[in-house]
């Protein structure tokens, strides 16, 4: 089943510069794929995404970045909320992050877990799917 949640409470401006920090970056000269490895930290405005490795997927023109494919244990923090999962795909232009692999979302005291979480940064909403279970603290947040 599905649960609709507000994420971060504010729309994330996806045109902010994206900053990626990592221990190493390897670029394959032939097809130009770039892989960041070693506690990678992707920051855009308030949102921080940290992962073991992030693969950069280009748009067709090769100039713009289409998607950031983070894997190896991903945590995303946006103000008071944080989400953890095994993998995440962040499509910058459309501003959607899809987390997959036993996702855990904590919003203040309450927590929500499931298999797949789709966050839309533009309007700050998220949809959790797959074996959703939640812990509510009545009157907590």
């Amino acid at each position: 089943q599905e649960a609709k949640i507000a994420f971060g409470g504010l729309a994330q401006d996806t045109s902010l510069p994206v900053e990626v920090q990592a221990d190493s970056l390897s670029v394959n000269n032939a097809d130009g794929t770039a892989i960041f490895a070693g506690n990678v930290l992707v920051g855009q405005g308030e949102m921080k995404l940290s992962a073991a490795s992030v693969k950069v997927e280009y748009a067709t023109d090769g100039k713009a970045i289409a998607r950031l494919h983070a894997s190896g244990g991903v945590t995303i923090a946006n103000l008071a909320d944080a989400a953890e999962a095994q993998e995440a795909v962040y499509t910058i232009d459309s501003g959607t992050i899809v987390l997959t692999g036993d996702v855990l979302l904590t919003q203040g005291p309450s927590a929500l877990s499931g298999q797949k979480l789709t966050i839309n940064l533009k309007d700050g909403t998220g949809v959790m799917e797959g074996r959703v279970s939640t812990v509510f603290v009545p009157g907590g947040n």
Binding site: P17, V18, V20, L25, S26, N29, A30, Y58, A64, I65
Partner: protein, 206 residues
């Protein structure tokens, strides 16, 4: 004097006077308009310091071409090449090198100074090195070492890169053959890598 001479011989008489005068004035103007030839700057001297040239023999505009074990073609050209004293390896100035990898990638390198060690296997470029790869990466660093045996470039100083996707900064980089598949080459940045990418494509102000 015969009776008044007729018109024809009077005209000839005048001509006998006027024509030589005209010839004389023409001759005079000949030297007036001719350009002054200044004998002192006849031979422009070369301004090269001859003692310096004689002191250490050098080769000007040398170039070197070779292929590495993994099939990448390397061509080097420089402004001047000097053989190092007591086996310190040859050193060259204003180097430009081109590496063509078997999978068709071109890497252009230019550097201020270069030094090939006596064994001739390793090339050290410093004094500001800039590399440009076909994928649109422009790298600026202080110094790199290049292995002439098999393609292995490594920078020994922080490197800043303007890449198609944005600006990158790293402590060092290395360009080696991808161990997984032979033909491809890996450009690896290590140490505090930082990429700044501006969505929408216009490059962010650093």
């Amino acid at each position: 004097m015969p009776a008044r001479p007729d018109r024809h011989s009077r005209m000839i008489g005048w001509l006998k006077v006027l024509l030589p005068l005209a010839a004389l004035t023409l001759l005079a103007t000949l030297f007036l308009f001719s350009d002054r030839i200044d004998p002192s700057d006849a031979i422009p001297y070369a301004k090269v310091d001859v003692e310096d040239l004689a002191k250490d023999p050098r080769m000007s505009a040398p170039d070197y071409a070779g292929t590495t074990a993994d099939g990448a073609g390397i061509t080097l050209s420089a402004q001047s090449l000097r053989d190092g004293a007591d086996g310190a390896g040859t050193s060259a100035e204003a180097i430009s090198a081109l590496i063509e990898t078997p999978d068709g990638q071109r890497i252009d390198i230019s550097a201020a100074l270069a030094n090939v060690d006596p064994s001739g296997k390793e090339l050290r470029l410093d004094g500001g090195v800039s590399l440009a790869t076909q994928a649109g990466y422009q790298l600026q660093t202080e110094a790199i070492t290049a292995d002439l045996e098999q393609t292995n470039l490594a920078s020994t100083a922080p490197v800043t890169v303007t890449a198609p996707m944005g600006d990158i900064r790293a402590d060092s980089f290395s360009l080696t053959q991808d161990p997984l598949n032979k033909g491809a080459y890996l450009l690896v940045f290590n140490g505090g890598v930082r990429l700044l990418y501006q969505p929408g494509g216009q490059s962010p102000s650093p």
